[in-house]
């Protein structure tokens, strides 16, 4: 067994430097690597390019890095619910590349799987297709999209073992499995880290081969963005 365990978030994030490109898992605030984001704020790493479906909210998730102006560029599919983001984008302080959500996921997966580019119908005929190669397949137009090229992928899982195997919970899975192994180094933070051999191999969602460093997060707030409920009859 190759041991991927590191003891602290500081150790896990070693090597992340100014100007790097990071992939960060999560959808909204669901399944985000909270502990790593908090540490990036502490480290004061600057000029980051962040590939993440959303940009958090004003005071949580990637919004914390935006507040400290640590992000130079965001590559996302949806960035509502974040006033500071909007302000930085409209003032030109922040570069923003908005891309279709399925294309975002597939560009991660392509990087993970060694596929340099692929064709998708998403965005054909819109501003997303500007400057991109377009081709017809089976009577339908598609555009070429490239695999991402990132320095670090920072993902969050529910359970993991010291071999780096990961299990996700509910919709906190989202982009996390797609980003595992999609960057030069993948860091996984988990709610519960167990010894290799403890998890049932049948239940592993992402094999440890895609993960270089794993640690157990100290605490998880798991903030809910839209608390919607119904009353019991």
């Amino acid at each position: 067994m190759i041991n991927k365990k590191v003891n602290t978030v500081q150790e896990a994030l070693q090597g992340i430097e100014n100007g790097m490109t990071l992939m960060l898992g999560g959808f909204g605030l669901c399944g985000i690597p909270e502990n790593s984001i908090a540490e990036l704020v502490q480290k004061e790493t600057q000029n980051l390019t962040c590939i993440s479906n959303n940009a958090g909210v004003d005071n949580f998730g990637l919004g914390l890095l935006l507040q400290k102006k640590q992000i130079k560029k965001m590559i996302s599919s949806y960035v509502g619910e974040n006033a500071e983001f909007e302000r930085q984008m409209l003032s030109g302080e922040l570069e923003v590349d908005l891309i279709p959500q399925g294309t975002l996921a597939e560009r991660c997966r392509a990087a993970q799987a060694g596929i340099p580019a692929f064709f998708t119908p998403a965005g054909y005929g819109t501003e997303v297709s500007e400057g991109k190669e377009a081709r017809e397949f089976n009577g339908k137009m598609h555009i070429m999209e490239l695999a991402f090229n990132a320095d670090f992928a920072i993902i969050k899982a529910w359970k993991g073992d010291t071999a780096g195997n990961l299990i996700f919970k509910g919709t906190a899975r989202n982009f996390n499995p797609c980003m595992a192994g999609a960057a030069k180094i993948t860091i996984a933070e988990v709610e519960e880290l167990v010894e290799a051999g403890t998890l049932d191999p049948n239940q592993i969602h992402i094999p440890g081969i895609f993960v270089q460093r794993i640690f157990q997060g100290e605490q998880y707030e798991k903030r809910i963005e839209q608390r919607t409920t119904r009353k019991k009859d």
Binding site: F27, S77, Y78, L98, G102, W158, C178, I224, T229
Partner: protein, 219 residues
């Protein structure tokens, strides 16, 4: 009288068929889940990675790890499954999802749709909308016929940045049900008590009107 949002959702719910996998957008489309016709089984997909989405949880039973694409807390129904975003959009682009219902700012008579950006005013991003409209075989748009300034959103040509081209099949508004044909918008039904003349006056695009236009039947 023009329909309210619930009326639009109820009319769209009549388009659901037994065995459909359906993706619902944010806003009016989300309401459609409350009015599934009796006797049919449909399953809702949310692109953040769940099939078999159920209603909102009871108070105190919310799970931060279980949300829909609108980031609202949800529950799952028997037979539900979770998956990652790449597989989710594989389902969508691979046309395994039968019906997409989404909102729009503008729809044009050639089936173009705009719903993600107002230059200089609102830029939130397209989320999954571009993937959904580029791939779904069956797209129904739920929208208001006119904007707050009273201007038609049913157009000859979209003015806002497009989300997809030539993809919308049907539009349900507070005034009418419209089908997009190779010749443009065809008026299929009118809201109860709304005249054909009122619909024509509220529509910038030319409407194809073939004989008597029936009223929508809304319970």
């Amino acid at each position: 009288m023009a329909l309210d949002k619930i009326g639009i959702a109820k009319r769209i719910a009549q388009e659901l068929k037994d065995g459909f996998f359906v993706n619902l957008g944010i806003g009016i489309p989300t309401l459609v889940a409350n009015y599934i016709p009796k006797g049919i089984d449909v399953e809702f997909q949310s692109e953040n990675g769940v099939l078999g989405m159920g209603p909102f949880p009871f108070e105190g039973e919310e799970d931060a790890d279980l949300i829909n694409a609108g980031k609202q807390t949800i529950t799952t129904l028997p037979g539900a499954s979770f998956f990652d975003s790449a597989l989710s959009f594989g389902m969508i682009r691979g046309q395994h999802v039968d019906l997409t219902i989404l909102g729009a700012m503008e729809v044009a008579e050639n089936g173009d749709i705009a719903n993600w950006k107002i230059p200089g005013k609102m830029v939130k991003g397209m989320g999954g909308a571009m993937d959904l409209v580029a791939s779904a075989e069956n797209i129904i748009v739920a929208m208001m016929h006119v904007n707050k300034a009273g201007e038609s959103k049913i157009l000859k040509k979209c003015t806002l940045p497009l989300t997809g081209v030539g993809c919308v099949k049907k539009v349900v508004t507070e005034l009418a049900v419209l089908e997009i044909t190779p010749k443009g918008f065809k008026l299929l039904e009118r809201a109860p008590g709304v005249s054909v003349e009122h619909i024509i006056a509220s529509t910038e695009a030319t409407l194809i009107i073939d004989g008597e236009i029936p009223e929508m039947k809304i319970d």
